[in-house]
């Protein structure tokens, strides 16, 4: 397989904002002293008057975004997932979610692929937190193409959206001419009858690689990319479970409350199926190069291949 181009989805976030900002005067971007890291710096450079740095005060930033949205602006509040979804959870819940305001939260540096900064900054809980808020849309794109499309879709959607991006450069896997992003619709990346691998975000590319290895041994894995965790594409999940009888979920997030839990919520009611949840196993992360951590925590292609094989 040819080496694929790699881009971190946080880069895609910044670039997409700068692009959208040209067309939409009402788009404003907020940061909490991390514009250089959330990659919104490109937007700030292009539209300095529409970039509001709130300083290191994420709870206030979410409230300011809420207030701005009531005046007709479309604010993208940006920070690390740990602070946007974690520290400011209650502000997101009460100042944005409850009044269903048109605020977009751009959360970068999600998951263990934050790398060297370690556990204090590796948020493996954000999907769980955000998906419990009524009306919140939760999107976790898998590559540059999807991330840019997700930012556009978030802008066009009326209501709160949580966008999850990564720090580590990941392979571009959706660069097909007919690529189309639809909020709430999962994407079948590979057909297969023996097992359904349902993945989101960073490990999607690794799942494709694992599926190829499985295929070499005659195991045909269906691979589904779930970019929108809420609302979940229940129809696709149920159909895949019924067609294969075995489901594996893969995410760079705690196995508690994330995609795996969302899939299980649906399947236990509509199509009880044995599910293997691959993710961060109820533990904190640690410091180390991101690629090494992805491997150590079992989210690389080899680990996924081994776990799926053992599961079947």
């Amino acid at each position: 397989m040819a080496e694929k181009k790699k881009i971190a989805t946080r880069e895609s976030y910044g670039n997409a904002l700068a692009e959208l900002g040209k067309e939409h005067e009402d788009l404003v971007v907020l940061d909490a002293d991390l514009a250089a890291a959330t990659k919104t710096g490109v937007f700030k450079k292009a539209f300095p008057e529409r970039h509001i740095d709130c300083g290191i005060a994420e709870c206030n930033m979410i409230g300011v975004a809420a207030g701005l949205s009531t005046t007709g602006k479309v604010p993208f509040a940006s920070s690390f997932a740990m602070f946007a979804a974690g520290r400011a959870f209650e502000q997101v819940r009460n100042s944005v979610g409850y009044p269903k305001l048109n605020v977009k939260i751009g959360a970068t540096h999600a998951g263990i692929s934050v790398g060297e900064d370690g556990a204090s900054h590796q948020c493996n809980e954000d999907i769980a937190l955000m998906r419990t808020i009524p009306g919140m849309v939760v999107i976790n794109p898998s590559d540059d193409v999807e991330a840019k499309a997700a930012v556009k879709a978030a802008y066009e959607h009326q209501g709160p959206v949580y966008l999850r991006f990564g720090r580590l450069a990941v392979p571009v896997i959706n660069d097909q001419a007919d690529y189309h992003f639809e909020l709430g619709k999962g994407v079948v990346l590979r057909e297969g009858k023996d097992v359904a691998i349902i993945a989101t975000g960073l490990p999607v590319a690794n799942c494709l690689e694992a599926a190829e290895k499985l295929a070499e041994e005659g195991i045909e894995a269906k691979v589904i990319n779930i970019h929108t965790i809420k609302p979940l594409d229940e129809e696709l999940v149920v159909a895949a479970a019924k067609a294969t009888g075995k489901v594996v979920t893969v995410e760079e997030h705690s196995i508690i409350g994330g995609l795996g839990s969302a899939v299980c919520d649906v399947l236990c009611e509509q199509a009880p199926t044995k599910v293997l949840k691959i993710g961060i196993n109820d533990t904190f992360g640690e410091s180390g190069p991101a690629v090494e951590l992805v491997k150590k925590y079992g989210l690389d292609a080899e680990s996924i291949y081994t776990k799926v094989k053992a599961f079947l």
Partner: protein
């Protein structure tokens, strides 16, 4: 409105507060009554609002950061014509649009949902920045409690407001000196409140928040202040207007029984005749 008319209006609003909380058998009369004169002044004198067009893009905005005093806001909105005064008796009832804390999705005239303390100033700052970005000249008002300013987020928001020179923003502190656990000076004193806001680059005005002459002068001064936001520290009496509720911490969040309700209404009737 002249001072006598404002006083009479505030008295009617106080009756609405007591009636709503009595009907709900729960709620927060103390801080609603202390701020009733400020509510009255804002909605009957100061703010550019239209009850027939509550979502008008150019209207002034009000964020009730101390959202538990919703009975005060609701009674004011009702008397100003945003919804029927009779509806006040549905406060906190199952199925009523008059939720225990302000709900902008369902209550005409409510500009921001609130109730979880500490969050309203941030939203007001967002609205004020929105006005500046759009070149609009509407003003934004937010009312916070003196206990509420123990929340750190208030100061995060104040810092940004001062830094961005939001002269279209007025933060009013309802300084009634009592919070649930007791006097604010005994729980965790926020004093000196004025010097704190000054340090955050606010223009600060200290007033008696139950005196319409001082309220009037303060809001005029705020309007004339350019290049910085204004904080009005309004010294008030918690439970103001109801004899047995005044300065009593127990009336922060309790409803009067039928007997007490009768006494309260009698107090207010008498004040109305004065």
């Amino acid at each position: 409105m002249n001072k006598t008319e404002l006083k009479k209006q505030a008295n009617e609003i106080r009756k609405g507060i007591v009636t709503a909380v009595h009907s709900a058998k729960s709620g927060h009369p103390g801080g609603s009554l202390s701020a009733a004169d400020i509510y009255t002044y804002l909605y009957f004198e100061e703010m550019n609002i239209d009850p027939k067009d509550p979502k008008n893009a150019d209207r002034d905005r009000f964020v009730l950061s101390k959202g538990h005093t919703a009975p005060g806001l609701y009674s004011t909105l009702a008397h100003r014509g945003f919804f029927p005064v009779e509806d006040l008796t549905t406060l906190r009832h199952t199925g009523s649009y008059l939720q225990g804390h302000p709900d902008m999705k369902h209550i005409p005239g409510v500009d921001m949902s609130s109730g979880s303390l500490g969050q309203g100033v941030s939203a007001a700052v967002g609205m004020a920045i929105g006005a500046k970005l759009s070149g609009a000249d509407y003003r934004v008002y937010t009312l916070v409690g003196d206990g509420e300013i123990q929340e750190g987020q208030i100061w995060e928001a104040a810092m940004l407001a001062g830094f961005r020179k939001l002269d279209n923003l007025v933060v009013i502190v309802d300084n009634n000196n009592l919070q649930i656990d007791g006097p604010i000076t005994e729980v965790n004193s926020p004093y000196p409140i004025d010097r704190k806001f000054e340090a955050f680059n606010f223009h600060v005005i200290n007033i008696d928040g139950n005196d319409f002459d001082q309220i009037d002068a303060a809001f005029k001064e705020a309007r004339a202040t350019k290049g910085m936001p204004t904080a009005i520290i309004a010294k008030t009496v918690k439970g103001k207007g109801v004899s047995f509720m005044e300065n009593q911490v127990g009336w922060h969040g309790a409803a009067p029984n039928d007997e007490q309700y009768a006494v309260a209404m009698k107090d207010l009737e008498k004040a109305g005749e004065a």
